[in-house]
Subunit: 423 residues, 2 copies
């Protein structure tokens, strides 16, 4: 195989994380070491920006800024949730795909790196297949990213360790607060966390338990259908013992009928629209009503996936390494693969990167195994803890200015467009 | 005046903060320097615990633990919201007061320090007056504490700088996240923060604005009655310009009729009870309905007042200094006063502590002045920024274990009870 020479394009896709930019930094810094890579471009807002030929010239950025991406949250290149949906919108998808290859060709893109979760790896896979079908020489490597940790084949996903570190810390701090408030009847704080239908994020807060009485006292995972009666009994028991209870609720928790408890559409809001009350708010009302306990809810929302100020150094290093490994794989001639994290040893924690065909990743969701959860379903067990513990080690150092984080901001010098606007 | 010799009692009251324990540490460390102070006791759960004679012996604690209180959130001694309510429950209050003085006498308490907000300073004031009336020699000094920053006479309150630092950081991170998500119609994230009817906490997030396009883009303060029409117009304008908008909402924001917008009691929850939807959720529904924008809400709740992992070093140092100053004042023969923070200079920031009669503090709420807020009411202005900026400087260093904070935990060796249980 003759060496492929050309330009590199890196883009981000899906919901941001605290360390997704570390993967961009990894790609860029590794790319600088390889002569076969000529220009380094960033695509703005994932494939949505690519379709509009919105590229930036990374070589116009300061080295300091690129290094700073390792402690900068959210998608520095912008992101999107745009899909090439050949099933539901085949014509649009075909048109988009044509356009993508026009953009690749116009800018001599030969190395393409897409950083994202399930949907994004699916997109990368389709682009890889199309490149072959079209005879356009392109190396496509996916870089994993998702706080939800629901990609298969990789031991875990960059972004996961940081959300767990932040949420675990928050649960510890909330527990200190709630337990220090003396009340005669006890109290209950419900903390809603992300993760959609996977319970990895909720489960991760169990790392905050250093002793049997420590919070979280109950973790509700979407993998386990919620038995409200059993939940209330367990809660009552804990409050009678400790005078308080901290419950972590995965946003996607379902009832025994398989419906998400946070999506009670029978209720209407002040404007007559169906209410998506949120799982924690629903349970707060339930607890208040059935147990007459003082309840409070916390909904961390976007704060948890953007919390770079307390990101995991392990997570950031792995995110960066995944970006580097992607470039090395592409330069070595590989394509159609996603970088994965391979655990070599749990204690002491040792890991490396590997590669997995994109077709094995796309659109497959990976859930918390049943045997990593306690029998009663209310707490991840030691198997999970052993798995998750190493992922939150170390703190990313974020510089500050005036007492607040000073994140890196890209200059975003645009690459001149060579194509007429998309029709 | 002959020197008063006896035991010291320190207790905490009201909602916890990230640095309220630093004040306890300040009291204890300063107390160790004065021979007139014999034993150092901690009262558990404020006056509620005192009434039950629940004291701990601080001299049984390790010096390392006491120092560790400076980075440990929540009330290490426990707290309460119990009031000596001579207006509504005069008999109970009189009985409680008798009991308090029985406890003081039984343990020869001569120096009493109460760390808390408005209500707690009122309690301290009543105890001071009763000591005089009863001829019981007792030095009572209040130590200010409240994230709400609504105590009068003190430049600001310990606890405030830390909540603002954390919330400001969170707003920056959320803004990075939301702004990086490409959407055609724009999006809006509403972040609800604490502060009850005072807007200090909401206003503090404006420190996150380093440039005119930075978040927060709108800050809704309880001091300004919400004009929904003007709010929606402003929001629409920002989204058309930036494609996104981050709105910070004080939990106590009121409508033009003076009603809290988060307390729409006309709506019923799934169990037929009135809904306290929360200000941000209400506004989220409003924005979704009127502007058809994608909205998300974040409710930090207890997380914000317990966020020791990113507490302000300035705040922690001030909290500790207030505790020290309280002891010095008491030892010097003063009583019936609250320690206050006096600003000597804003840039560079210089401060010292002072003393203010407790009667000036009790039950007086201090709000954000109208001339510290922009004319349209949607943003604190430079006067506020100059005031708040120094308070968030520096980061408290919190040790970690396994990637999560390692907070100090008191041994809580009980002091033997000398009285029969309360009748």
């Amino acid at each position: 195989m003759s060496e492929l020479v050309g330009n590199l394009l890196v883009a981000q896709s899906g919901g941001p994380t605290a360390v997704i930019n570390a993967s961009v930094a990894g790609v860029i810094q590794e790319a600088g070491k390889h002569e076969c890579i000529e220009e380094i471009y960033g695509g703005l807002n994932g494939i949505l920006g690519l379709i509009n030929e919105e590229l930036i010239d990374i070589n116009e950025e300061k080295a300091r800024t690129i290094e700073g991406l390792k402690y900068t949250p959210a998608a520095a290149l912008g992101t999107c949730r745009y899909k090439l949906d050949f099933k539901k919108k085949p014509e649009q998808a075909a048109k988009d795909m044509d356009r993508l290859f026009e953009v690749f060709a116009a800018h001599n893109i030969r190395f393409f790196f897409y950083i994202g979760g399930n949907d994004s790896q699916d997109t990368a896979h389709k682009i890889h297949e199309q490149a072959i079908a079209r005879g356009y020489e392109l190396r496509v490597i996916g870089v994993p990213k998702t706080i939800d940790n629901d990609l298969p084949h990789t031991d875990h996903c960059p972004g996961y360790g940081s959300v767990v570190k932040y949420n675990g810390t928050t649960v510890m701090e909330i527990a200190a607060d709630v337990s220090s408030m003396a009340t005669d009847d006890g109290s209950c704080c419900l903390v809603e966390v992300m993760g959609r239908s996977a319970g990895w994020i909720a489960a991760g807060t169990a790392l905050a338990r250093r002793g049997p009485n420590d919070a979280p006292h109950i973790v509700l995972l979407p993998e386990i259908p919620l038995d409200e009666g059993a939940f209330l009994l367990r809660l009552k028991d804990i409050v009678s013992q400790l005078k308080y209870c901290v419950v972590v609720v995965g946003e996607g928790v379902k009832n025994t009928a398989g419906e998400e408890i946070g999506a009670d559409k029978s209720r209407l809001d002040a404007f007559g629209h169906p209410v998506l009350s949120g799982a924690a708010d629903y349970l707060g009302e339930l607890v208040q009503h059935k147990l007459n306990l003082k309840t409070r809810t916390v909904k961390l929302g976007y704060a948890q996936r953007a919390a770079a100020h307390y990101a995991s150094a392990t997570d950031s290093a792995e995110a960066s390494a995944c970006g580097e490994a992607a470039v090395r794989a592409a330069v070595a001639g590989q394509s159609g693969l996603m970088v994965k994290i391979v655990r070599l040893e749990t204690s002491p924690y040792k890991w490396t990167t590997g590669l997995q065909p994109l077709q094995d990743i796309a659109n497959v969701e990976h859930f918390v195994p049943r045997d990593w959860i306690s029998e009663d379903g209310f707490m991840p067990n030691e198997k999970f803890i052993d798995y998750a513990r190493p992922l939150i080690e170390g703190e990313v150092k974020v510089p500050t200015e005036g007492g607040l984080p000073k994140f890196a901001v890209l200059e975003k010098v645009r690459v001149e467009k060579k194509l007429p606007p998309r029709g």
